[in-house]
Amino acid sequence: MIKEKKYFLLLIFSFGLLWGCKNKTTSEQPKKIAVIVSTLNNPWFVFLAEKASAQAKKLGYESKIFDSQNNTSLETDHFENAIASGFNAILFNPTDAEGSVANVMRAKAASVPVFCMDREVNTTDGATSQILSDSYSGCVALGKYFVEKMNKQGKYVELLGLVSDNNTWNRSKGFHSLVDHYPNLKMVAQQSADFDRNKAMEVLESILQANPDIDAVFCGNDAMAMGAYQALVAAGKADHVKVFGFDGAEDAVNAIKDGKIEATAMQFPQVMAETAARYADEYFKGKKDFPKKMPVAVELVTEKNVDDYIAYGKKEPDQQKK
């Protein structure tokens, strides 16, 4: 009887010890959030990662940024490290829509929620939520402006981004969903320049050899738009060929002010980063029902409203022109 009592007390003590340990973990150590980003070699993604990390810290969590260097294998290492090191959530900017699916599923298997930022992965089961620029709708707005500026006629070239990236096709599809209604707008060439400025310049130079009489170039991002503009300057055609970009990069905003390019579509990386961190916070507090894909509105920037914008977003009220 005494022996049984001893065992019973030992059992209660053990439970108490375990309970104490659990309470210590939850009450004293802040949860940890990993920010895994495709590359830190591009200022746009540096901005995205830093804003996500800063917001996580602001909400009271530990945070660390991992750079995948556009390499899915390295991304896999980061996921494994993050899971093994006890990170409680991952704010994720994928390297590859298809290639990153396995990493997201790995985190899901380890019960670590993943919140995608800006780029999506090709699964609706893996990530808890994906917060993405509404590229399609942004390019519908760009397409409308394009048709108006072109007066519904003319020849144009489309420079695509990375063909493996969903954003490339969402942008192209949004643009064509409107522009293709106008048969007098003829696309004479459509080629990929991998979102790269130098490559865009080379590709357009080559296209201009065969099509010297184009009226416009639609580019899937601003880096390519700037490259296209350089090619047009070199060919002496910059004055009458209209260039359209996408992103809201600093040089594109300045180029619109200077009348060098016609328009861009402004993305809001800060909104995406802060929303992802906020969702992680809500997840820790018990919310489990998140939209699988949350679009973030993209805004058309033209000569009319360019003074309202700075790189990566809108000017604060005190920055706006009086």
């Binding site: 969402n170 969903s177 409107l178 929303t275 939209p291 699988k292 894909k293 509105a297």
Partner: protein, 212 residues
């Protein structure tokens, strides 16, 4: 010996039960039909949204003139009360209605003076560029959680706009003249961070020429 036989029989029976429950036979056409039914049907969704959900709500839309006054006076609370958007960001949509006299007929839009508008301000009704998310989002009747894929809700907008371009606009464009009194209902887009009421353009859902 008998015991071993019983054991073997039990094992075989168990194996048969497991095997029977592990394999299912279905007709291929039934499986294909089930897979197709899981695909999102944007055409049906858009048609149902316009006729069943949105049209009954049009009479409850705010008068455009009243909305303009409210946005001028109390922008924050007006956006909070009357605007909707499926995603997040500064672009917001309002469901509006109104009545006015046509002052000009352009290639892409008709201009209209709102009835009893002391400011005598012209607004436009789009008759060419009916694209984008205004009509899908303005009512607030669509929930983002209904969709798993980005392209699904993009396609809903595309199909809604297609119906408007093919069914609402042609009878109106063929009859409307300068000086006509017109009733309209539809959606407008405003940027909450930089409100501009100078170039309001209504994407129409309903158009009626009251008096020619």
């Amino acid at each position: 010996m008998q015991k071993k036989a019983i054991k073997n029989i039990a094992a075989i029976v168990l194996l048969l039960v497991v095997a029977y429950n592990s394999v299912y036979f279905k007709k291929l056409d039934e499986v294909k039909a089930a897979a197709v039914s899981k695909e999102f049907d944007a055409v049906t969704y858009a048609s149902n949204y316009l006729t069943v959900k949105l049209t009954p709500q049009l009479s409850n839309a705010i008068e455009l003139q009243e909305l303009i006054q409210k946005v001028h006076a109390e922008p924050e609370s007006t956006f909070q009360k009357y605007s909707h958007a499926l995603g997040i960001g500064n672009i917001k949509y309002f469901l509006v209605k109104g009545e006015g006299v046509i002052t000009a007929i352009g290639d892409d839009a008709v201009s209209l003076l709102l009835k009893n508008d002391s400011a005598q301000k012209e607004i436009k009704i789009a008759t060419e560029f009916v694209f984008g998310n205004a009509v899908r989002d303005a009512s607030g009747l669509i929930n983002i959680n209904e969709f798993n894929n980005t392209m699904d809700f993009n396609n809903v907008s595309a199909e809604i706009n297609k119906i408007i371009r093919s069914e609402v606009l042609p009878p109106f464009k063929s009859r409307v003249k300068k000086g006509d009194l017109v009733q309209f209902a539809g959606a407008i887009e405003l940027n909450q961070a930089h409100v501009s009421l100078e170039e309001i353009e209504v994407v129409p859902v309903g158009l009626k020429i009251v008096k020619q």
